[in-house]
Amino acid sequence: MKRIKFLLFVSVLVLALGVASLGVMAADKPPVVIGLQGPITGAWAYEGEMAKQCCEIAAQLINESGGILGGRMVEVRIADDACEPKAGALAAMKLISQKDVVASVSTYGSSVCEPASNLYEKFKKVNIAYGATAVRLTERGLKYYFRTCGRDDSQGIFFAEYVPRVFGAKRIAIMHDNTTFALGVAEETKKALQPKVDAGEVEIVYYDAITPGEKDFSVPLTKVRETHPDVLYFTGYYPEAALIVSQARDIGIDCPFVGGNAAINDEFVKIAGIEKAKGCFMTQEPMPAELPYPESKVFLDAYKAKYGEIPSSPWPVYAADALNIIAYAIDKTGSTDSDVLAEYLRNEVDGVPGVTGKIGFTENGDREGVPYLMYVVNEEGNFEVYKK
């Protein structure tokens, strides 16, 4: 009996304390908590680390300008997914189960994002990916899933706009390797070029696949050469890209070579050799240093002030924008309800200035008009933004 009395006493005490602390917090206006799920540990830890720093800077900037919802601060709560699908599901559950987490920035890897976003969907929590670029992610008809980064194939849209305009290319050859990624980019390029083809401005003179792992491309390249292209766009990966460029030059294709963002890297330069690699182009997400917007400058200055240097990968800044847009939506709607937020993000957010440019979402939750840049391999084998 004595024991029960004691227990009762303790529970009353705990309850009282709880109510008291609640009262204190209410007086201080509780922060709005936004989750960040990312690879804080594991092979991609540097990505997660930078994403965490980006979100913290974004929150800091919001808080310095007075917070949201009339003075409530934004707080970032981290969950580590180690870039593993299994850990990703646990990290998602961790954030979902904390009732004060309003929405989540989640996550970097596509294969991690897929199961995690299913959980967020099930428990009705808005989640915005910042590095998951696989096309299929937004084609599952999820209601609460968005992303601020582009899709694997959005560089095709950029190519279709940029190359005819800047290179003056009229005869375009497109080569892919039938992998989901490369075919996606190639299809998107073709689709985006279609209006210009219909208008008779450009012509797709070659559109075909090569076999990944193949070493001899003399036959498809001879076919390409006979179509006299103004530009050759290869959307596949670097092992083939390097051989294609090398063999194309050998059989007398001298037109500009443009690779997708999986085609051109340091290995590409090594395999193709600097002589043949220099002057090759690449459609690629801008590195943070090359973001041209006023918001990016403010953000990167604050980031540099705190961490010494700006992020070295294109992706972390998308995490900052994911957090920014969540905070923006909460502030504008005055609500932390998932349905209200999802509805608002999908239908009302349009052209909101962010670190990575104007933010808006399509019906599927994809980012509208993701920025891409044309990079070129310079004399030293490094990559720089192409300026005409």
Partner: protein, 303 residues
């Protein structure tokens, strides 16, 4: 016509790789009645050996011996190295189980193949390696509208010289006659005073050496090598061997060259995506309609 000639040239170039590798299969099969499945990986090992030599000797090659010297040195050393590897493999993996029968030897060959592939991966890493540009001739020119690289011509000439020398050894010398005799009937050849041990030693050194040379050539030609490359080339060269008539030396040469040309013309005029389909379709057709191959002699089944 221009394109046809260009593709013929490309076809002959890769055909000569197939021919050089196919010789190794054919010689070993001829004498041992063993399909040496490790041969493709010996070829890959040769490619990596040449790669390492050229990377190490990069400065020396460019400043002292010149491109031609470097190329020949790399091929020679790779040939010797792979020849030795071939002998060692024969001692360790094949000799102890000859007496058991032919099937265990084939399984052992598959094991050696997997072993070599992984040893290459462990030593040189799983990533693609690239032959340095500075040690490979990069000159290219146009003859009557046909684009040719200097390297292509060098490779063609070198491999034809190698094929010719081997043809001479096998067909015109007493030692070649001994090899052919052993291929026809090992027991009778031994009774005639031919030292089978010497013959086996010779073919297990020479076959892999040719494969290793081809490895360096392929490395220079495409400049990109990977530890899994041996399997694909091995399979195609094996097909070439069947096409020419397994165990028959001139047949392997002819089969390799024909296969290269088929592969190129097929993918040029029918479809690029079906490139490998042509190769293995040929294998199936030959096996159905002419199992002894183009130049293979009809051998009565031993009962």
């Amino acid at each position: 016509m221009r394109i046809f000639l260009e593709q013929m040239l490309n076809g002959l170039t890769i055909g000569s790789f197939y021919a050089l590798i196919a010789l190794g299969y054919s010689m070993v099969y001829g004498v041992m009645k063993l399909i040496n499945f490790a041969h493709g990986d010996l070829f890959a090992l040769g490619s990596y050996l040449g790669f390492t030599l050229l990377v190490w000797g990069n400065a020396y090659v460019t400043s002292h011996v010149g491109l031609a010297g470097g190329m020949i040195a790399a091929m020679l050393i790779a040939a010797i190295g792979i020849g030795i590897a071939g002998i060692i493999i024969e001692r360790i993996a094949y000799r102890p189980i000859y007496s058991v029968g032919r099937l265990p030897a084939v399984v052992s060959a598959l094991g050696v193949s997997i072993f070599l592939e992984n040893i290459i991966m462990v030593i040189w890493g799983p990533r693609y390696q690239a032959y340095p540009v500075s040690v490979v001739p990069t000159l290219r020119f146009e003859i009557g509208g046909i684009h040719v690289t200097l390297l292509q011509i060098v490779i063609l000439i070198l491999s034809f010289v190698l094929l010719a020398v081997l043809y001479y050894i096998i067909q015109k010398t007493t030692f070649g006659a001994a090899i052919r005799a052993s291929a026809l009937d090992r027991d009778t050849a031994a009774l005639m005073g031919i030292n089978i041990e010497t013959i086996i030693f010779f073919i297990f050194a020479l076959g892999p050496a040719l494969g290793g040379t081809a490895g360096v050539m392929v490395g220079m030609y495409y400049r990109q090598i990977s530890f899994t490359m041996g399997w694909n080339y091995g399979l195609k060269a094996f097909t070439a061997t069947i096409l020419g008539g397994i165990g028959n030396i001139p047949g392997a040469m002819l089969g390799g060259l024909l296969l290269g040309v088929f592969e190129m013309l097929g993918s040029a005029y029918i479809s690029t995506a079906y490139k490998d389909v042509f190769v293995f379709l040929i294998l199936i057709l030959v096996l159905i309609f002419r199992p002894r191959g183009l130049l293979g002699e009809k051998v009565a089944e031993k009962v």
